[in-house]
Amino acid sequence: MILSVASGKGGTGKTTVAVSLALARRAAGAGAVRFLDCDVEEPNARIFLKPEIEGRREVRVPVPVADESKCTGCGLCAEVCAYHAIMVNRKSRQVFVFPELCHGCGACTLLCPAGALSETGRVTGVVEWGPADGILFADGTLRVGEAMSPPLIRAVKELIRPDGDTIIDCPPGTSCPVVQAVRKTDFCLLVTEPTPFGLNDLALAVEMVRALDVPMGVVINQADIGGGAVRDYCAAAGIPVLLEIPHDRRIATNYARGIPAFRAGEAYARLFLDLQAAVWGGRAG
């Protein structure tokens, strides 16, 4: 099964839940457990899982390069580019490429009638992988200054294999990066908190997951700090609440030191073993 862990609002505990769930799944004696950190703008799961990195791959997006000796100055490349990533000075036949705007669709290169464009690669980030306590870990790290994370997220997801289980730690929000991370997964866990913010952003995330047609469940973190509005919302929307984690300063101090909640004591280990059973038992059962 491929499981995504997401949330509309940031900082609700996605990484805590994803990491602890992977450790619980492993402890429950499942076969291969893969962990993919797709929050490539701020990948943090390795702080908790401490993998031994064995492999590394740069991810590139194709960008055009112009051979100005062949350019006729027709300007078609600039006309076809939906991202304004290429400009032509028709008189001087100079081609200006803005790599950070280019999505690498290939339209300019394919359609240039003079064959003056070819492609090179722009590095958007790196994928790294290695074992972590019996878990097969991988993450993506977006290059600072790079705007586009979806190609890198897709590259991390290429490491999904049909055997065993894959847990994906997603970026926050509801737009293209999180869509790339959640799409084509079998189940999505949405982590939220019982504040007006948590509820507002949960409702947005639920709409997104529904649009992607992925079944989902909710984890309420710091469950005892607010009222019952999140629980009421889930009941009305027909979304199961699979786990409630109490507000506990110990979780925060352990988190600060890079210790996963699963290892914050017997009671917490139990919580995540139960969550693991609820997610896999409830589906595969």
Partner: protein
């Protein structure tokens, strides 16, 4: 003569460190000013500011293909050329996946039958509202939509226009988490980036990335450490990081259950009377004003 508008972008790298609650508190302390909620795909500032909406505008951006099945000859060129796997041949016809499509329009260009038309998309809304602290520009990106960077730019442009129109000197930008396209759009051209962080390993890691991003765009960074006392050693490391990089440390806000409780009620922390966190936020505000050259 136009007033010079100071733009302060409040960001964090890591989500959930307290950006929005700090933005709202700074707005209360610095009012009147203009607010810009640039976290357009999970906007929350309205929950604290209770805005009254004055204007709603449609946000149109990007194009998506519409396939005329009558004209399609099933040649498969579109699917073959699409690098995003947004078109795939199924039963002799192209099947379209909107979530994979990046709107490049190559499919329409290569279709010899003229069966594909690129149509402009409505992908969100933006608003101008009135709050107790001043006008606010905000938005809602459509679910699972792209082009959040362009919507952020739209919100910021409107916020600056509002400041000029009303003679207000400061725009407070509540930014999104991360370092990608909407974050870049939120900080470019700002006078100061305020990075809100927590004393955790991930907080420091993410702070370094977001401060690196600001430096790339030549923008000064100042830092606020939230819940500084949950790990004093890590708070010390963040302080050292700031000193080494000549980054102003605006404030260290203690862990305070009053913050959690005021958030659960949907109120900015500054309203919590007698709270140690509220006092620290006031201190941070004074330093921010000096740092940003925000004359009252």
């Amino acid at each position: 003569m136009k007033t010079r508008v100071t733009q302060i972008a409040i960001v964090s790298g890591k989500g959930g460190t307290g950006k929005t609650t700090l933005t709202a508190s700074f707005a209360l302390l610095g009012r009147p000013c203009v607010l810009a909620d640039c976290d357009v795909d999970a906007a929350d500032l309205h929950l604290l500011m209770a805005p009254t909406r004055l204007r709603t505008e449609e946000f149109r951006s990007g194009r998506k293909p519409v396939i005329d099945r009558e004209r399609c000859t099933g040649c498969g060129r579109c699917a073959e050329r699409c690098r995003f796997s947004a078109l795939e041949m199924r039963n002799g016809l192209p099947a379209y996946d909107a979530f994979a499509c990046e709107g490049c329009g190559l499919c329409a260009r290569v279709c010899e039958a003229g069966a594909i038309e690129m149509r402009e998309q409505r992908c969100g809304e933006w608003y101008v509202s009135e709050t107790a602290c001043g006008p606010m520009a905000h938005a809602r990106l459509g679910i699972a939509e792209e082009n959040s960077g362009k919507l952020v730019t739209t919100v910021r442009r409107e916020a600056v226009r509002l400041a000029e129109e009303r003679g207000l000197r400061a725009v407070l930008i509540d930014g999104p988490p991360g370092i990608g396209c909407p974050v870049i759009s939120s900080i470019v051209g700002a006078d100061l980036v305020v990075a809100v962080t927590e004393p955790t390993l991930s907080g420091l890691h993410d702070l370094e990335r977001v401060a690196g991003l600001a430096a790339r765009f030549g923008i000064r960074t100042a830092v606020c450490v939230n819940k500084f006392d949950i790990n004093e050693e890590m708070s010390g490391r963040i302080g050292a990081y700031c000193r080494e990089g000549a980054i102003a440390l605006l404030g260290r806000i203690p862990y305070d259950r009053a913050v959690v409780e005021s958030l659960a009620r949907g109120e900015p922390v500054i309203r919590a009377a007698g709270s140690a966190a509220a006092a620290a936020v006031r201190g941070a505000w004074e330093r921010l004003r000096a740092e940003a050259g925000w004359a009252p």
